[in-house]
């Protein structure tokens, strides 16, 4: 007897929670995405989860995602069919139907919207993603390291506008798609990086959806037991609690379609008297102590959790007075290569820090 993995309506709470955790402050509030996925599953049934190795080599795999400022999605009242429109537009350009859906990144919205699309299109979803976390720009995916092109790419908004891109490289895709997203009112739905099963086997990060569901389950069950999930997450994920404190300042500005800024956290309990600074561009990218020493550097993961409940907090909702845990996780080894660090290391974002693995930075602690 064969076993298959499926995502049911009841799994969506865990997926939304785990996605928000790995979203490292970005990737959006899962509310809308979870709702969309639950409705799509109600209407069309559960979604089958495929291991990447179960894909036929010539299968067409298509990542679907939200691009832009996630808060905008809450204000724009999506029609619900933009994501499907993006998929259908891309299929029209390719002259071919997708065989499986894929998550470009982990995140509250971008781990849930693809499930909604998969349910609506009655397609399986691949157990993997392109980042193992969230990053702010389109070219920041493992596929770029394996010369898979982001284009043809399709974009759709809630008004019915559809745009297809065919650019010379993935960085150009990002630049054009970004200004189009801004013109769409700050957010759009996208389908891109169409790839074969053979390419997916080589390029993607494996098991992400299972990991996300597992993280969601841990957070949920620890919350139910009135325990902060940080300790269990640290043990299970080889992560570490970096800091605990209260947010005393958030300097946040919207520039070129991104939420950029820096948050100050003043220590509580055993961290009394210390500070931590979190620099972000949609996602948390660099954590420094009060002496300017890095404690976690992109591409390693910096997750912000509510001190009482362990609920993940996004860079957009974080505000003065929030009591938080800063939690760190090593990134996927692919990101620690030369090519990986060129794509998503600190210098790309303009930070002076030299990348060092989070395990090394925190040996003394």
């Amino acid at each position: 007897m064969e076993t298959i993995k499926i995502i049911t309506r009841d799994d969506m709470a865990d997926v939304a929670l785990g996605g928000a955790f790995l979203g490292t402050g970005g990737g959006g509030d899962p509310y809308i995405g979870r709702l969309m996925a639950e409705q799509a599953i109600d209407a069309n049934g559960s979604v089958q989860v495929l291991n990447v190795d179960d894909l036929a080599d010539d299968a067409l795999v298509v990542p679907v995602a939200m691009m832009g400022a996630p808060t905008v999605m809450l204000e724009k009242l999506p029609r619900g069919d933009e994501a499907i429109n993006a998929l259908r537009s891309l299929e029209a350009v390719l002259g071919k139907k997708a065989d499986a859906i894929f998550c470009i990144e982990a995140g509250g919205l971008n781990s849930t919207i693809p499930i909604a699309v998969a349910a609506t299109a009655r397609l399986p979803i691949v157990d993997g993603d392109g980042m193992g976390r969230a990053f702010p720009e389109l070219q920041m995916v493992s596929m770029t390291m394996f010369d898979i092109h982001a284009c043809p790419m399709a974009m759709a908004d809630e008004k019915g506008n559809a745009i297809a891109l065919n650019t010379v490289d993935n960085l150009s895709t990002e630049k054009f798609a970004r200004v189009i997203t801004v013109e769409m009112g700050g957010a759009g739905l996208i389908a891109l990086y169409p790839m074969t099963g053979a390419q997916a086997k080589q390029a993607i990060l494996r098991g992400s959806l299972s990991l996300i569901a597992n993280i969601g389950r841990i957070i949920g069950s620890e919350q139910a037991a009135n325990r902060n999930p940080a300790d269990k997450l640290a043990a299970d994920l080889k992560g570490m609690r970096l800091f605990e404190g209260r947010v005393t300042d958030v300097d946040r500005r919207t520039e070129g379609g991104f939420a950029r800024g820096r948050a100050t956290i003043e220590g509580l309990e055993s961290y009394q008297g210390q500070k931590m600074f979190l620099n972000f561009q949609n996602e948390f990218l660099l954590a420094e102590d009060e002496h300017g020493r890095p404690r976690a550097i992109t591409p390693d993961l910096i997750c912000l959790l509510d001190l009482e409940t362990g609920q993940p907090i996004t860079t957009e909702t974080m505000g003065y007075g929030f009591r938080v845990i800063v939690f760190g996780l090593p990134c996927d080894p692919k990101w620690r290569t030369k090519h990986g660090l060129e794509l998503v290391g600190p210098s790309y974002f303009g930070y002076e820090a030299q990348y060092k693995p989070i395990e090394i930075l925190n040996l003394q602690n």
Copy 2:
């Protein structure tokens, strides 16, 4: 025996000059476009000019144009195949080959580039255009008044990037294409408003290419006879000399992909002691006297000519000390309708003046 109209290499000087004149300060310096057309004609032969009524009702007519800041075209060193790439991209989207090329507007670049494309693609060009002059925005064409959609639209740049748009209306097409143009470095080549021969017969302004060639011939022959062509143009085109003077100030800024500003001209000869102010957004849109009284208002044409040679001057090259003639022409009657004035009248551009025909404004003069 049947007669056919053709554009030969030798006609290109007239077309470039006449296009620049009707470009009303915009539509670009014809230099690059004339060169491209001459080379394409050398390589592929002359271009047949079709009267719109000679088109089959089901023929596919495709306007091709440069979008953005024309000076950028001089700096970007075009590869020469961007315009053909835009046409081919649009044909790919439509799944159909164009039967004829068309000029979206009159202008130094946009009356010549389509001829280069027609020669290269070995297609005829239609004797007409969508404006009878130049305007700064994509939706400002007679086709919009006849519910012809700008999309599908294709854009291409000199790097090889190609983008296809399918927007909900022509104003949205303009907004998306404008930010994409800026991201392309300020200018891109476009193919849009695909229409049938039947639609073209209803919607386009007729005879523009013949008119442009005729204007070019007048300017050229008057220049050869050492006469300023303004008087002959006024007589032949029902136009009028509005002012003569020296440019004493140009306030020019680049905003949102447009060259916006205002020029001050102080009177010479019989205009001594008077002033004229020219407001522009790529094109000259409003001419006022020193008392703030309008002397010519968009959509009527305001053309700037060199006082000695009669050479058309663009808003981008105009500068301090230029000695100029301001020349006015009534626009096509289609623009004086309610719908026409909504699209291109003074209020759209933020000017307070109420539109009055140039013939009425200058009755007293």
